[in-house]
């Protein structure tokens, strides 16, 4: 008897908890929420600081990867999705089902820098060689003009826009990245692994290729802002901020920042290339 009463109480409290959980969190009016690509992150954060200073609007920026950014926009948990790749068809159709209309706003251009340890004597790689490294055809640096040492290749996890861009720009249809490739969770982690591993190769956004690693030329062209803008560097892509519907109000002001002089300055300061 007693036990049954208690059981009823448990059910009741479970129901109450359920009700509490189903209440939806809604975004406040005077606040912008950004989520998405770790590549766009530095631009978004610098923009956010500037935006708060000039407009007094609180901006939060999360970096969880392009895939998560798209997901957040579709689920309505962010106002702007930072993405380092265009939305996929599957994401667009999922958005349509949820009544979200993603609009693409170009922020900047980014090159994908192939980075190696500063002590590595390899200076130039063709796109075919990079493809050979990552598909597992080349396993030793001596096969591509380097020292006799096995290649440690580093990729990004599957929800990274940088990873998608790499696959699109370097691999061919039907290629798979070798299962020996190590996976790191961010541009910074890839850079730190390459900077500390003499035999490693990795790819990061142009802005991340700092002094602790060496960028190699791809098809004879070194990655640089100029080479990305005029298209001579083969591994380049556009970076986006997706909005739900045509941007308006604060959202519009924010995504228009790349066109303003101060926005352009921020973009080149963070190591990216201006589109406008």
């Amino acid at each position: 008897m007693e036990a049954r009463k208690l059981f009823r109480k448990i059910l009741l409290s479970a129901a109450v908890f359920g009700l509490m959980a189903s209440g939806e969190a809604s975004a406040a009016g005077n606040k912008l929420v950004l989520d998405g690509s770790t590549t766009v992150g530095p631009i978004a954060k610098a923009f956010a600081a500037q935006f708060t200073k000039t407009n007094g609007v609180e901006v939060t920026v999360s970096e969880s990867g392009s895939g998560n950014g798209a997901k957040s926009l579709i689920n309505g948990t962010c106002d702007i999705a930072d993405m380092s790749r265009p939305m996929k068809d599957a994401e667009l159709s999922a958005a349509k089902i949820k009544g979200v209309n993603p609009v693409k706003n170009i922020v900047a251009l980014d090159g994908l820098a192939m980075i190696v340890h500063p002590s590595n004597r390899v200076r130039n790689l063709s796109r075919a060689q990079i493809r050979g490294i990552y598909t597992g055809a080349y396993t030793n640096w001596s096969q591509i003009g380097g020292p006799n040492a096995p290649i440690v290749m580093i990729q990004r996890e599957s929800n990274s826009g940088t990873q998608d861009a790499f696959k699109e720009l370097v691999l061919k249809d039907g290629d798979t990245v070798s299962s020996r490739a190590e996976t790191q969770a961010s541009n910074g982690a890839v850079k730190s692994r390459v900077a500390t591993t003499p035999t490693a190769i990795g790819f990061v956004g142009l802005g991340f290729a700092g002094r602790s690693v060496k960028s190699v030329a791809v098809d004879g062209v070194l990655p640089s802002a100029g080479a990305v803008r005029n298209g001579s560097y083969p591994l380049h892509r556009q970076l986006y901020m997706y909005t739900n519907g045509q941007p308006a109000g604060n959202v519009k002001k924010f995504v228009d920042m790349p066109k303003s002089p101060i926005g352009k300055r921020i973009i080149s300061e963070t190591g990216f290339v201006n589109y406008y």
Binding site: L6, K9, I10, S13, A14, S64, G65, G67, N68, A70, K71, I74, K88, A90, E91, A94, A149, P150, V152, E157, S158, N159, T176, S179, R180, A181, E182, T183, Q184, A185, A189, S192, R193, T196, T197, P198, T199, A200
Partner: protein, 398 residues
């Protein structure tokens, strides 16, 4: 015996209190008694609710994970998941072979257990039976503080400091750790071995000579082995520092406080009477520890070991940061210097992209992995529980 008598005691206490309450000499008004009864019921049911809630949470987790794992097996079947080593969830067409990932999980768990269990049990014995009480008071909290370090800090250390260290000085690190760990062990084996072999010789003088000769011969042999293996280890070049060895070592540090703490409590619980009984029979401290205390505390030690291993199996952040995350079975299979990918790291790493948006198999496969982890920990918890119960029965002589 101990446990059951303790239980009896509790029951008796409970009964005693109850009867005392009823026949109490205090005059308590009916209203007051009723109030007391109500508060008692309220308090008890609140406690019960909380306890039940915890149990319900476990069931809920199991239910929801299983609910989202089943569709994966409906779509792709069991065979690919458990027998294929290729893990390409984002490719076209996708391949969801988790064998290499399951293997990676087992590899780092076994590796960390191999390091953490001997170290943890040895430390627990040292704390409970070797160190004086005043020292132990300070050492134990320090060891337990290891558990308070957040896993991301361990991961950061593993990735930024330990991995490059393994790459740059891997060979010498391996050589020195081999020497440090193997030397005392081999010394002990030589001494005990010489003693055992020579004890068969009846004549006193000849036995002593034989013992000395044995010590010298075996010592020289051991020295040769120590040096040869050491130099062989030093010649190893570690290509990537984010590998199974790195993670195993860091995970063993994370499992240590659990093992030490629980095992030490178990050793303490053996009690003074058993120890003194053993000494009274003329046993040395080593004999007392090995033959009396360890067997008596074995169930508690085992519980600590299982808890520690579960911590290693379930740990995500360190593994995700420092294991390299390459989904392949190392070649050869025991190569701890190769990078691996584990179940937990795969769930953490692939969760972002994997929702209904990008195809359901890719979403549900992560739940399948979660279910597998849950099942593994439930089964090992269950087994350890059985062993503990059986051990207790044997010890109590039932």
């Amino acid at each position: 015996m101990q446990a059951s008598s303790l239980q009896n005691c509790n029951v008796m206490n409970g009964d005693g209190n109850a009867t005392e309450g009823r026949s109490s000499a205090f005059v308590v008004s009916a209203r007051k008694r009723k109030l007391q009864q109500i508060t008692r019921t309220a308090g008890e049911s609140t406690l019960f609710l909380i306890a039940a809630f915890v149990a319900v949470i476990v069931l809920f987790i199991f239910y929801f994970v299983a609910r989202d794992a089943v569709p994966f097996f409906e779509i792709r079947g069991f065979r690919e998941f458990f027998t294929d080593t290729r893990w390409y969830p984002a490719d076209e067409p996708p391949v969801f072979g988790a064998l290499s990932i399951i293997y990676g999980s087992l590899m780092v768990t076994v590796g960390s257990a191999l390091i953490a269990i001997p170290m943890g049990v040895a430390a627990a014995i040292c704390l409970s039976d070797v160190l004086p009480f005043s020292v132990r008071q300070y050492v134990k909290p320090v060891i337990e503080m290891l558990a308070a370090i957040p896993s991301v800090a361990f991961g950061f250390f593993a990735l930024v400091i330990f991995a490059p260290m393994l790459q740059n000085h891997g060979g010498s690190i391996l050589m020195w750790s081999w020497w440090i760990m193997a030397t005392p062990l081999i010394l002990l084996m030589i001494v005990v071995g010489a003693e055992l072999v020579s004890s068969r010789i009846e004549d006193d003088r000849r036995r002593k000579v034989a013992q000395r000769v044995l010590l010298v011969v075996m010592g020289a042999l051991a020295l040769l082995i120590l040096i040869l293996v050491g130099f062989r280890l030093r010649s190893i070049e570690i290509m990537t520092g984010t590998n199974a060895l790195n993670v195993s070592i860091i995970l063993s540090f994370m499992a240590l406080p659990t093992i030490v703490s629980v095992a030490e409590d178990a050793l303490q619980a053996v009690g003074r009477d058993l120890r003194e009984g053993s000494y009274a029979l003329g046993a040395t401290r080593a004999e007392t520890i090995i033959k009396t205390i360890l067997p008596a505390a074995s169930s508690g030690i085992l519980a600590g070991v299982i808890l520690g291993i579960m911590r290693a199996l379930g740990e995500t952040m360190v593994v995700w940061m420092a294991s390299g995350n390459s989904a392949h079975i190392p070649e050869p299979w025991y190569n701890y210097l190769d990078s691996v990918r584990t179940l937990t790291a795969t769930i953490a790493g692939d969760m972002g992209e994997a929702d209904q948006v990008t195809g359901s198999a890719r979403f549900h496969v992560l739940f399948a992995m979660g279910l597998l982890l849950l099942v593994i920990s439930f089964v090992s918890n269950f087994i350890s529980e059985r062993i503990v119960v059986r051990q207790r029965k044997i010890l109590s002589g039932q």
